[in-house]
């Protein structure tokens, strides 16, 4: 049921760019919230034909959104930080998923109910620092929806 179905969006970025590079945004989803919970994570997979930066995100679900990185360090502590942007190298798959990069939706305007849909508007910047926005559809999945693997450190460190 966590089938990698969903939307495969082929989005042409328009005006303001030297070219119109395609951005593939797939498998966008938002974790449902428990009643009263004010924040949740959003996840998706991105691939761009030219180097882009994800510099911001908006969603009707949330008054604020941040790009975050989380990792579990060798001391067994989960650390999460907001980052000002996320680089999307050309032709490289960048996954925002549990255990790594993600979008944090904050000050939720409404509960995120599993089965409903919302949108994520991605604010992208190209090498010439021109900005463009792309809106993708996202499924709200159950609170216990997960990537298959437990969180791990993105840093390539030897395990003990």
């Amino acid at each position: 049921m966590r089938a990698f179905s969903l939307l495969l969006l082929f989005l042409f970025l328009q005006t303001g760019w030297a070219q119109t590079p395609p951005l593939y945004a797939t498998d966008a989803w938002v974790r449902a919230t428990a009643r009263g919970q004010q924040a949740t994570g959003a996840f998706l997979t991105l691939r761009s034909a030219e180097p882009l930066r994800l510099v911001g995100v908006r969603s009707p679900l949330a008054a604020a959104a941040e790009i975050h990185v989380m990792r579990v360090d060798d001391d067994g502590v989960m650390r999460m930080r907001a980052i000002p942007w996320l680089d999307l190298p050309a032709d490289q798959v960048t996954e925002l998923k549990p255990g790594g990069f993600h979008i944090m939706l904050l000050s939720l305007r409404a509960p995120a109910n599993a089965g409903q849909r919302t949108t994520l508007t991605l604010v992208l910047e190209n090498a010439a620092r021109q900005r463009q926005e792309v809106t993708v559809d996202a499924e709200i999945r159950a609170l216990n929806a997960l990537a298959p693997n437990p969180p791990h450190t993105p840093r390539d460190k030897a395990t003990h």
Binding site: R31, A32, A34, R35, G36, Q37, Q38, A39, T40, G41, A64, E66, H68, M70, V72, D75, G76, V77, M78, R79, M80, R81, A82, P98, G99, H102, M104, L106, S107, A142, L143, N144, L146, A147, P150, P151, H152
Partner: protein, 204 residues
């Protein structure tokens, strides 16, 4: 200035914990798998918390069961839901034996994690999971009692802080003794194996 609310692993407190030691000799040995480390300290064993239904609790309330204790907060994007999801799978693997296991989710962020949020959050994974909390003022003390590291990290606005925290799970045996700290990389099968061993050692 960096706002460090609590730093665990205070050697001083270890002394207090051992003082609580109510002689319970001959804990049956448990194999220590690669995903866990053996614990001999008495962290948090007598520490009073409130459950999400409003009842005052200590870990002694679950004697006779194996208790899996995880510390986190509901704004946690994935370490906490991943852990709780893993425990829900452990319960499924254990089948009828799951009745002898209690999963406890202790919040390190009681300012935002109100009891009803804890209740709904834990219930989303398994209706028998229980959320526990103390007041925000007492949370540093709770973290010291359990020797759990956490640190509040300011966000871009005051209400959007995040909480860095340890992702290990404490496993208490049926006599209420802390026996293992299980790594976050442990699979549900591995956790279930450790639980089964501790249940098998239970003296009736």
């Amino acid at each position: 200035m960096k706002r460090v609310l609590a730093i665990g692993f205070l050697a001083l407190l270890a002394a207090c914990d051992t003082a609580e030691d109510a002689a319970e000799p001959n804990a049956a040995p448990v194999a220590v798998p690669s995903h866990a480390k053996e614990m001999q300290a008495r962290y948090g064993e007598g520490y009073a918390m409130t459950d999400h239904l409003g009842q005052t609790r200590t870990l002694a309330d679950w004697r006779g069961k194996v208790a899996l204790v995880f510390f986190g907060y509901t704004h946690c994007p994935d370490a906490c839901p991943s852990a709780l999801y893993r425990f829900s799978q452990v319960m499924e693997i254990l089948g009828p034996q799951a009745e002898q296991v209690q999963v406890l989710f202790v919040t390190l962020d009681p300012a935002r994690d109100k009891p009803e949020i804890l209740r709904d959050y834990t219930a989303a994974f398994n209706p028998n999971f229980l959320g526990l909390y103390v007041s925000p003022e007492k949370t540093p003390e709770l973290a010291r009692a359990f020797h759990v590291f956490y640190q509040v990290t300011p966000g871009q606005t005051p209400e959007h802080y995040s909480v860095d925290h340890g992702v290990g799970t404490y496993v208490y045996d049926t006599t209420g003794r802390l026996r293992l700290e299980i790594d976050h990389t442990a699979t549900p099968d591995e956790v279930a194996d450790s639980v089964r061993q501790l249940l098998a050692a239970k003296k009736d």
